[in-house]
Structure formats: structure tokens, C-alpha cells
């Protein structure tokens, strides 16, 4: 490992949460639907059907590009990517080739392992395309066959491609987590990995360290091969697949072989990657401009308007939480991890200012972080009430309480006698005396326990 530097790039597909599909009015929310019930001539690729792009999907794609600090070219267009596979009814996918909606971006991550250091990963491009149908490999009447459901066909899909700037599997995971967070904050996709609305494809190669000198001189000195691992649906699987590939390549290189340039799959049960036998034929997609969709020309005004739809993003929110609420960086980063949680925290804070209570943001943060209340059932208002109630009855210092109880026992020999002779009710009088002396600060059941112990 020490003799090699991993060179890792990422491709991420994100399904947008628009109401309708990319080029037709079919319902894009296909999840759980009966097969082939969300289709029309456009998304079935029937002859003569005309695709018309979904304006919102294009805006959301540009929103993602802007959030990833990309340049947004004013001129853009769609292209046809030609290949034959049964999940692609037209024989081509409408995608973008040389004029994507966003280019040359970057995302700064703070890899845990690097302490306070940050790492910049360049974003090569963000483009818009359409999803494919879903294939099921089955056996019908004793014969192997493939079944197709086109409900997913034509659902808006955004592809994000990084430069090969990533050097460890941890960095890759940190990058993916951060990207996922941003997509969620942008509100353009549920980015649910289990449902497949966010899919990860790392590409990996490794380079001998001696060649590093050239990299310092600014030469893009990439290995001559690259292995792509397709369709991974969890951050941890992505990390494991990268680790697996790195050690596989090292083994091959150490024995004098060069890893084969290929596409591999991830076997999540065996924790290994496997070769996806592809045809010897190199991919030749013969991209050409989509003749059915006129080009897209943006104005500066339009760009500005889309930029203004970008909400506060995780990094900015973390900083604000630290600055405005005096939270630690750790607490702030946990709260902002999930958009809903961070909003719940702020709504709870607003409840305090309204009610003029003496509860600090730190206390609220602790309640939320330690999950003392379930935010799905407890409203921010109720949370503040719970915290207030708890604060009004704090547990007393044990030695103070002990002292008060002993004094009450001394001062009430009659009640003590009654209790000892079997009149259990007398304990209530003693508890009452203790509660009065502590001005209600003590917890009644705690007082009862201490009293009964002392009177044994």
C-alpha cells in the first residue's frame, strides 16, 4: 500500500423528485407501482412521440451545479447516447455530451482522518439525463428471460462526475456523505439509497509512488487503466468496494500485471467486486445532438433567479449554529447532518424567545442529540415544555437532601413513631415536610426511597 497512491473518481446518479418525468407528463413517482402503469408513447419510445423537457428538472439540475460551485454555461443542449439494451426502449438515452448544464465545480470536504485540514474535490460536470426501465431476470415456463417495467423509464436523472482527486476510501465516503447532505438540503431528491434514487459508481486505479514527483510538477499523470464499480447503494459499500479494488490492483501490479480496464459489480454478501463480462467491443455511443429538443439558452437573469432558490447549505448552517447559538463544532455538525433535525432545533429555539424561558440552545441541542424526545411525535413547542418541566424539578444534590431528611426525622418523632408501629400513611406526612423544606426541588419518589431506608 505504501508504494502506491490510489486515484479515485466518483460518478453519482441522482433521481430528481419532480412530479412528472423528464420528457413526458407521466407520474415520476413510480416506487411501488404496478409494472408498466406509468408509461406513454414518449417514455416507451414509440415512433413519432416527441420529448419535451421538464423545466423544473432542468432548474434543479442547475441548482445542484450551483451548489457544487460549478460554472453554468449559457448555451446547453441534449444529445442522444446510442446503445442497445432492453431497459432502453428508444435504443438511445437522451443525455448531455459536450454541453452539460454545469462544469468545473468543486466541493470542499473535511475528512475526519485529516483533522482540521480540508480537501477539495473538483467536479468535472453535472448533467441531465433520463433513467432507464427496470429489468427483472426471471425464468418463465422453464425458460430464462428478462422482464421489463418501464415505469422508471424517463424519470429525471442527474449525473455528477468528479475529477479523480480522491486518494483514500475514507475521503470517498466523506465526499459522498457531504454530497448526499447537499442534495437533501436542496430539496431536489429524496436521495434514498435503498430505493435507488442515489447510486454510486467509484472508478479506481493505483499509481506507483515514485511517479508522484510528476504530479507535483502539475502533470496529469494518470494510470493507463481504470476500473469502474457500478451501481453501489450505500456509502459503506462504496468504501469497501474501493478498498477491495485497491488491494486487488496492488496484488496484480506487484506480480507484474496491469489490472484490466473494465466494469465490475459489487457483491454485498461476499464483500467482493466481480467482473461484469462485457463484449470485447469498446463502447461506442455515437453521441449526436438530440434533433427533437431545441437547445437551451440561459440568461444571466435566469441564472441569478435559480441561484436565489438555493437554501442555506450544511456548511453555512454549521457556522451559523456555532456563531449564533454558541454550539460546539461537534454539536452543530450533528444537528445539521439531517436537514429536518436542524430545522427542528431552530424551531425549538424560536419557542424559547417567544416564551422568555431560561433554556439555552446548548440544552436543546443536548436533548435533540441524545434523542431524549422523539422529534417525529414531539413538536418543538412540546419539547420546550418538556425541558421546562424537567428544569423546574431538578434532582437535588444527594447530600443536601440527606441532611434535610435527617432534620425532618428528628423534628417529627411522633410521625416517625407512627410509621414504625405500622401506620404506613405517616410516611406521606414526612414526605410532605421534606418537600416543603426543599421548596419542591426534590423528587417525591426519591424522597420516599431515602426516608424508608433511613427508617428501617
Amino acid at each position: 500500500m505504501n508504494n502506491y497512491t490510489p486515484i479515485i473518481g466518483l460518478e453519482i446518479h441522482v433521481e430528481l423528485a419532480t412530479k412528472s418525468k423528464m420528457f413526458c407528463g407521466c407520474d415520476a413517482n413510480y416506487f411501488g407501482g404496478k409494472p408498466n402503469t406509468h408509461t406513454c408513447p414518449v417514455c416507451l419510445g414509440l415512433p413519432g412521440a416527441l420529448p419535451v423537457p421538464n423545466k423544473k428538472a432542468i432548474e434543479w439540475c442547475i441548482r445542484i451545479g450551483l451548489a457544487l460551485n460549478c460554472e453554468i454555461p449559457l448555451h446547453s443542449k441534449f444529445d442522444r447516447k446510442n446503445y442497445f439494451y432492453p431497459d432502453l426502449p428508444k435504443g438511445y438515452q437522451i443525455s448531455q455530451y459536450d454541453k452539460p448544464f454545469a462544469v468545473n465545480g468543486r466541493l470542499v470536504i473535511k475528512p475526519f482522518a485529516r483533522g482540521p485540514l480540508t480537501k477539495t474535490v473538483r467536479i468535472r460536470r453535472v448533467h441531465m439525463e433520463e433513467d432507464t426501465g427496470k429489468l427483472i431476470h426471471a425464468t418463465v415456463d422453464g425458460e430464462k428471460c428478462t422482464l421489463i417495467d418501464f415505469n422508471r423509464s424517463g424519470v429525471p436523472l442527474v449525473e455528477i462526475v468528479t475529477e479523480p482527486d480522491i486518494r483514500t476510501s475514507e475521503e470517498a465516503r466523506d465526499f459522498l456523505k457531504k454530497l448526499h447532505q447537499i442534495i437533501r438540503y436542496l430539496g431536489v431528491s429524496d436521495a434514498d439509497m435503498e430505493k435507488g434514487s442515489m447510486r454510486l459508481e467509484p472508478n479506481i486505479s493505483i499509481r506507483r509512488k515514485s511517479e508522484k514527483e510528476k504530479e507535483r510538477k502539475g502533470e496529469e499523470n494518470l494510470p493507463k487503466y481504470k476500473v469502474e464499480v457500478k451501481n453501489i447503494n450505500s456509502f459503506n459499500f462504496a468504501k469497501k468496494a474501493i478498498d477491495y479494488e485497491i488491494s486487488r490492483h496492488i496484488e496484480l501490479l506487484d506480480s507484474g500485471e496491469t489490472p484490466k480496464q473494465e466494469t465490475r459489480g459489487w457483491d454485498e454478501k461476499k464483500n467482493i467486486t466481480y467482473s461484469q463480462r462485457s463484449k470485447e467491443e469498446a463502447h461506442d455511443y455515437r453521441y449526436f445532438p438530440e434533433p427533437d429538443i431545441p437547445p437551451i439558452v440561459l440568461s444571466e437573469k435566469e441564472k441569478k433567479r435559480i441561484r436565489e432558490t438555493i437554501p442555506e447549505l450544511p456548511d453555512a448552517r454549521t457556522e451559523r449554529f456555532i456563531k449564533d447559538y454558541g454550539l460546539s463544532e461537534y454539536d452543530a455538525s450533528i444537528l445539521i447532518d439531517d436537514k429536518d433535525t436542524s430545522e427542528y432545533f431552530e424551531k425549538s429555539i424560536q419557542q424559547i424567545t417567544n416564551n422568555k424561558q431560561q433554556i439555552t440552545p446548548k440544552v436543546i441541542a443536548n436533548w435533540i442529540i441524545n434523542k431524549k424526545a422523539d422529534k417525529s411525535t414531539v413538536s418543538p413547542e412540546e419539547l420546550i415544555k418538556l425541558i421546562t418541566a424537567k428544569q423546574q424539578k431538578p434532582q437535588m444534590d444527594a447530600t443536601d437532601l440527606d441532611l434535610i431528611i435527617k432534620k425532618v426525622i428528628e423534628a417529627n418523632p411522633k410521625a416517625v413513631g407512627n410509621y414504625k408501629s405500622g401506620k404506613e400513611g405517616a410516611i406521606m406526612y414526612l414526605i410532605g415536610q421534606v418537600m416543603r423544606k426543599t421548596k419542591g426541588k426534590a423528587n417525591a419518589s426519591q424522597v420516599r426511597n431515602l426516608l424508608t431506608n433511613l427508617l428501617k
Binding site: N36, C40, T146
Partner: protein, 101 residues
Amino acid sequence: MADINANLSIPDVKKIAVLANIPLTDEEARKLAGELTQTLHFIEKIKKIDTKDIKPTSHVTGLSNVYRDDQISPSLTQKEALSQAKSTYKGYFKVPAVLKD
């Protein structure tokens, strides 16, 4: 391949046929090699036209920004969707297996 003097070879034609998913007999491939070579030569001729002052374009309609709003319109029923298919099974389109073994 686009050299004006070069003729398209039969392996070239066969490769294009594979990409286009069109089965060709040897005779068809030979015939097409000649015809496609002619087409290439014609394109070479067009390339000689002076286009120095003409802006490149991918469209001839002069249109741009043709969009639709994000609204759902009714889809076909499952029965309608499958009605043109050669083979179906339980609401799915059915095709020969893409994964062998």
C-alpha cells in the same frame, strides 16, 4: 475511415452493423461497403464548402427553450402499454434473457 481515398472495409461495415443491432449477410456487407463509401465521399465533398462565416448549430428550427411545466398527465393503462408487445408476462414486457447462465 473518413479519408477521401479510403474505401470502407467489410469489417468496418460489420462493426457499424453490430452497433446498430442490424444482422448482415456477407453479401449485404459487401454491398453496403460500396454504398457507404459513396456516402462518405459525398460528405467529403460537402466539407469543401466554405463555412468560415457560418455559426455552427445543431438545429435548424431556430427554436430554443421549449419546455413543459412539471405537471402530471394521464399515462396509458398497463393493457394499452403492453398491447404492441410481441411477448408479455404478468404486466411486464418479456424479452430473451440478457444474462446468460
